[in-house]
């Protein structure tokens, strides 16, 4: 069963001569348990698709379904129990004057869920932190720890779907590796479905099974990430992205073993 179904999604801003259509007939399906990537350059509309699913825009046209439920214009609490979002910049997405504890309890309070202390401790452990982080403020955490907290905040409502908006692009490569491993583990343990926006093809190839390539508000190609690596992309724009990513990429190094833990 498709966990996320997007059918002929259209969205525009402005009216009359200033009308700017940002999404043109976007169609995609994400299966239950799948990790699906959305790639493209800035302004191609990839984050906009996420925002429609997250209910941040309400004037779209088309049909959105999550977990078999039609997504309404005005979203109810049940939708947010199913779908949560993780943002790009962990420095900007956590309230600077709220402790980690209160940041994590806020969604529980909104959804009137009990056992708050236990749930906070449990979710912190799941994302690889511990209780000692509960009463710290975001500025006392590193970027990677903050992104772990942001993931914990999304997961505390036990959603089925995570919308990931460039979850690692603000992080160092060494921290990116930790967060990507964490996301892979969480998905396996909890059977989560991911829809991830990124501009880094290597990250998509690592985490996702399928990927949609967007350009100018349209999906130009949907393919398996294996096909990307095997040069089987059909569309010229996809090939361009693959080439741009290869130009920057070199993995002709052997795996060093002494300093690494797997």
């Amino acid at each position: 069963m498709a966990m996320i179904e997007v059918q002929s999604l259209n969205l525009s801003f402005g009216t009359g001569p200033a009308l700017n259509q940002v999404l043109h007939d976007v169609n995609l399906q994400v299966e239950q348990g799948q990790a699906f990537g959305l790639v493209g350059e800035s302004g191609s509309g990839k984050t906009t698709v996420l925002r429609c699913l997250a209910g941040q825009y309400q004037h779209w046209n088309g049909a959105l379904q999550v977990n078999g439920q039609q997504v309404q214009r005005k979203l109810d609490a049940a939708h947010y129990r199913t779908v949560q979002m993780v943002f790009q910049d962990p420095y900007a997405s956590l309230h600077p004057r709220h402790t980690i504890d209160s940041a994590l309890k806020e969604p529980l309070a909104i959804h009137r869920i009990g056992d708050r202390d236990d749930r906070v401790c449990e979710i912190l452990r799941k994302v690889g932190l511990n209780d000692s982080f509960r009463f710290r403020y975001p500025h006392q955490l590193s970027g990677g720890q903050r992104q772990r907290v942001a993931i914990a905040r999304a997961l505390i409502l036990e959603p089925r779907v995570l919308l990931l908006d460039e979850p690692t692009s603000a992080l160092d490569v060494s921290v990116q590796a930790e967060i990507l491993n964490l996301l892979a583990d969480l998905r396996r343990e909890q059977g989560l479905t991911y829809l991830m926006v990124t501009h880094d093809l290597a990250v998509v190839a690592h985490l996702c099974e399928r990927v949609a390539v967007m350009q100018g508000g349209k999906i130009v190609e949907i393919l398996d990430t294996g096909e990307l690596a095997r040069h089987e992309a059909q569309h010229a724009y996809t090939r361009l992205l693959v080439q741009a990513s290869r130009d920057m990429n070199t993995h002709n190094i052997e795996q060093p073993s002494a300093c690494l833990a797997l």
Partner: protein, 284 residues
């Protein structure tokens, strides 16, 4: 570097040390950093907090008065940056040595048209009419491959895309024809296709002009292809310095750890190796 004669060396840094003191605690952000910059593209790579930006800022003396910057040598051209007066520094900053910041969204003035900001950079250092400064700014916008300079000149920073904003920043920093540009993560806010374009522009400028580029970045793949030499920093120290072409054969475990933590399109792995830090790196 020995093969560079003294006249070609634009920047000489020897045993740079930067300390910040706040609330009675002293934090040693950078220590023992030495390098020379000629007419080349030198990269400083490392994780956040490794001190790479602190090095860049020390060169322009952009640190607050509470920072203690010491060095055996800190020389730009023939000027000792440590003893230069503030007036001398004003003649250097933005004129002979300029800095491209990471994110155009935060480093452009949101309430001034972008073209006027470029012209202002020129006017700050040259006694010319506003009209001439405007013409130079328009010319410069063309040089950074902006298609319609007349239109873009009139835009405000929020009206331009990230890639265009970064090209505007570059235009602003290059318009005074500096000898050294410090680029602090100039492309990390941009996506791959635009990044290529911005790098090409920087490349063009370096090859056309007598320019040394200090390229601060955390992206190893990028610097390997774009720069001539790479200085790897960790915890305020230089771990190693090597030609960019040899980066894949780097010896230091820190550099190797960073390289292998990168996900790859062509060599998928189920788990990415996580960097293990060795306290011994800090004592050598």
């Amino acid at each position: 570097m020995s093969q560079l004669s003294a006249s070609q060396t634009k920047l000489a840094v020897e045993d740079l040390r930067v300390e910040f003191t706040s609330a009675g605690r002293t934090n040693l952000a950078v220590q023992g950093v030495s390098f020379h910059l000629g007419r080349e593209k030198l990269a400083i790579v490392g994780e956040s907090g490794s001190g790479k930006s602190t090095v860049g800022r020390s060169l322009l003396r952009l640190h607050p008065a509470t920072a203690r910057v010491t060095a055996k040598t800190l020389r730009f051209d023939d000027i000792d940056l440590l003893s230069a007066s503030e007036k001398q520094m004003q003649g250097i900053r933005g004129r002979r040595m300029s800095m491209i910041m990471q994110d155009p969204k935060y480093s452009l003035n949101p309430v001034v048209k972008v073209g006027e900001q470029i012209a202002e950079a020129y006017l700050a250092h040259h006694k010319v009419s506003h009209q001439e400064a405007k013409e130079r700014a328009l010319d410069m916008l063309g040089k950074v491959h902006i298609r319609d300079p007349q239109r873009v000149y009139q835009l405000y920073p929020h009206e331009v895309s990230g890639g265009m904003g970064q090209r505007i920043m570059i235009a602003m920093m290059v318009i005074t024809d500096p000898q050294v540009i410090i680029a602090d993560e100039p492309t990390s806010a941009l996506d791959v296709s635009v990044r290529r374009q911005v790098l090409n522009i920087l490349e063009e400028l370096v090859s056309e002009r007598d320019l040394g580029l200090l390229f601060i970045s955390h992206d190893l793949n990028l610097v390997q292809h774009f720069c001539d030499r790479v200085l790897v920093m960790y915890a305020g120290r230089v771990m190693e310095c090597l030609p960019a072409a040899d980066l894949a054969r780097a010896e230091h475990p820190y550099t190797r750890g960073l390289l292998s933590a990168l996900p790859s399109l062509d060599f998928p792995r189920s788990r990415l190796p996580v960097l293990q830090r060795d306290p011994l790196w800090l004592t050598h």
